[in-house]
């Protein structure tokens, strides 16, 4: 049981840096920069809420990528490479 707890904990900890990347990716898909309604139609202008959603998605996505890079640097540091 102790092992199972720690395995679960490790999985969750490893997943932590990926959470913002996935959430950001989902937000970016939900709030694309341009919505095309059909050929020849004008793209729908971005509303304030959509802009905010897109902006949050970008922050989470790129922040998450930076977080993963940070973890890589930390592991390299731990291994004495830098």
């Amino acid at each position: 049981m102790t092992d199972l707890n720690y395995i679960l904990e490790a999985v969750l900890l490893l997943a932590a840096p990926l959470v913002p990347v996935i959430a950001g990716h989902m937000l970016r898909r939900k709030f694309p920069q341009q919505i095309a309604l059909g050929e020849g139609t004008e793209p729908v202008p971005m509303t304030g809420a959509r802009k905010l959603g897109r902006w949050a998605g970008n922050i989470l996505f790129w922040g998450g990528i930076l977080g993963i890079l940070f973890m890589i640097v930390v592991v390299l540091n731990f291994k004495g490479r830098i």
Binding site: Y6, F70, M71
Partner: protein, 471 residues
């Protein structure tokens, strides 16, 4: 009824007797078996837990087996201590100061008590530091007085004479002295190829001379007595390993100049891509420039020479982990820091550990980078070693206890408890030093920097175990 009375009496006596003679478990470190338990402790044959897990019969046979070697070991330690506390001559001084290690002092402490252990450690500390000082800068008459309880008068005289020898060597090392007569025969002497004579120990001289390894008398060493763990269970005889004789002593180096420990800060220009930065920086009151050292041993020697209460700041720079800071090959934990710095720190002086995770993770945070650092710390210092232990067969409880205790150790707080009055700072997170990044190192030319520049990390400072704002 009268006839039954003697039977009752006999039965009750028998019951009382049987309970009196029944084997009872012997508590760990029982005073009646002091020598045996010391013997077990020294050889790490049992711990209180493993001892308690033994049955009374096994305990008794273990104690019986250990009795003789334990008494012999006790006598050997008494003899060792008696010899060590006599006034030393020059050979014994060199011998004891170069060969006596921490385990020897611990052995005296264990077998003969803390007072004798402390007396022995004090004698070694005083004589070692005086010997070092004598070699580097010579001794004054006043300083030699402190040696009277420990050394024979002849040995003190010889130590006082070292100063004159060192000065003569210094003169020789001066450029004008090095020039010498300008002739072909003396010029060819410069091409003499061989090891640096100062690096030749007495062993090497003996080997050079007669191809034998011995050089002088065998040193007296405390050695180690070892109880063969597990022998008690199988009934095998206890094996006592006699103290191992160490190699003959080496001649102390006589240096022609003071130790080259202090490295000028600007001397570390390099074009290397990756960093090899680590070092110890010591700021003292009244000094314009800090002292910087690459080697921990050099720093320790220099700090010992400083007057008490003179250090305003000391920076240990290198890699860190929970409970430990490394400076190259030199490790610093809370106890080492106490041994090095006790009494030397000025009131409110700062001890800075510039290494990752040298403080505990602390409380909750909203900073995602700090959060990620906590995650990484838990994974690297708990999860991975825990599963490694489990895969090598360590019981879950044991592995859990060990790593749960260690992963969040707080070196800064522990050190602050050891160095009362000083402010001790460490990092709660992995500390990132831009100057260490590959490429940046080459750009800045500081591959072997001894002092960190900017460190990105969450700092925590403690004074007497309580968190205080960073100075």
């Amino acid at each position: 009824m009268k006839t039954l009375r003697p039977i009752f009496i006999f039965l009750s006596l028998a019951l009382a007797g049987s309970s009196a003679f029944a084997l009872e478990p012997v508590p760990w470190n029982n005073k009646d078996y002091a020598a045996e338990f010391k013997y077990f402790m020294e050889g790490a044959a049992f711990t209180p837990e493993t001892w308690a897990a033994l049955g009374p019969k096994e305990q008794e046979s273990s104690l019986l087996e250990a009795k003789q070697p334990a008494l012999e070991r006790q006598q050997a330690m008494k003899n060792y201590y008696a010899a060590a506390m006599k006034k030393w001559d020059t050979a014994s001084l060199r011998d004891y100061t170069s060969k006596t290690k921490e385990p020897d002092i611990k052995a005296v402490d264990l077998w003969l008590g803390k007072a004798k252990g402390a007396a022995f450690a004090r004698k070694l500390a005083v004589t070692s530091s005086t010997l070092r000082k004598a070699r580097r800068e010579g001794l004054s008459k006043e300083e030699s007085l402190a040696l009277e309880p420990y050394l024979q008068p002849e040995a003190i005289e010889e130590l006082l004479a070292v100063k004159a020898a060192a000065e003569a060597l210094k003169k020789q090392a001066a450029p004008e002295a090095l020039k010498g007569p300008d002739s072909k025969s003396t010029a060819s002497l410069n091409k003499f190829a061989g090891p640096d004579p100062s690096k030749l120990g007495a062993d090497s001289f003996a080997k050079l001379y007669d191809n034998m390894n011995a050089s002088g008398a065998d040193p007296v060493v405390a050695g180690r007595g070892q109880y063969a763990a597990g022998a008690a269970h199988t009934g095998a005889a206890v094996q006592y390993t006699s103290p191992q004789k160490k190699a003959a002593f080496t001649m102390p180096e006589v240096k022609s100049a003071p130790a080259a420990g202090a490295v000028p800060a600007g001397n570390a220009k390099s074009t290397a891509l990756t960093s090899d930065a680590y070092g110890i920086t010591v700021y003292t009151s009244g000094a314009q420039q800090p002292l910087t050292f690459r080697k921990g041993e050099d720093a320790v020697a220099a700090i010992r020479r400083l007057p008490d209460g003179s250090i305003t700041k000391v920076i240990f720079y290198g890699h860190g982990g929970p409970g430990l800071q490394t400076v190259g090959a030199f490790d610093v934990d809370a106890d080492t820091a106490r041994d090095i710095l006790k009494g030397k720190m000025a009131r409110g002086g700062v001890v800075q550990y510039s290494g990752c995770n040298t403080a505990s993770i602390g409380g909750m945070t909203l900073n995602p980078a700090v959060g990620l650092s906590m995650v990484a710390r838990r994974l690297l210092y708990f999860s991975i070693p825990y599963f490694q232990d489990r895969m090598s067969g360590t019981p879950a409880e044991q592995a859990k206890q060990q790593w749960e205790k260690g992963w969040n150790a707080d070196l800064a707080r522990d050190t602050s408890l050891n160095l009362r009055g000083a402010v001790v700072c460490g990092y709660r997170t992995f500390g990132l030093v831009p100057g260490r990044l590959p490429g940046v190192t080459a750009l800045m030319g500081n591959q072997e920097a001894t002092t960190p520049g900017y460190v990105a990390g969450k700092k925590a400072c403690y004074q007497d175990g309580k968190e205080v704002p960073a100075p």
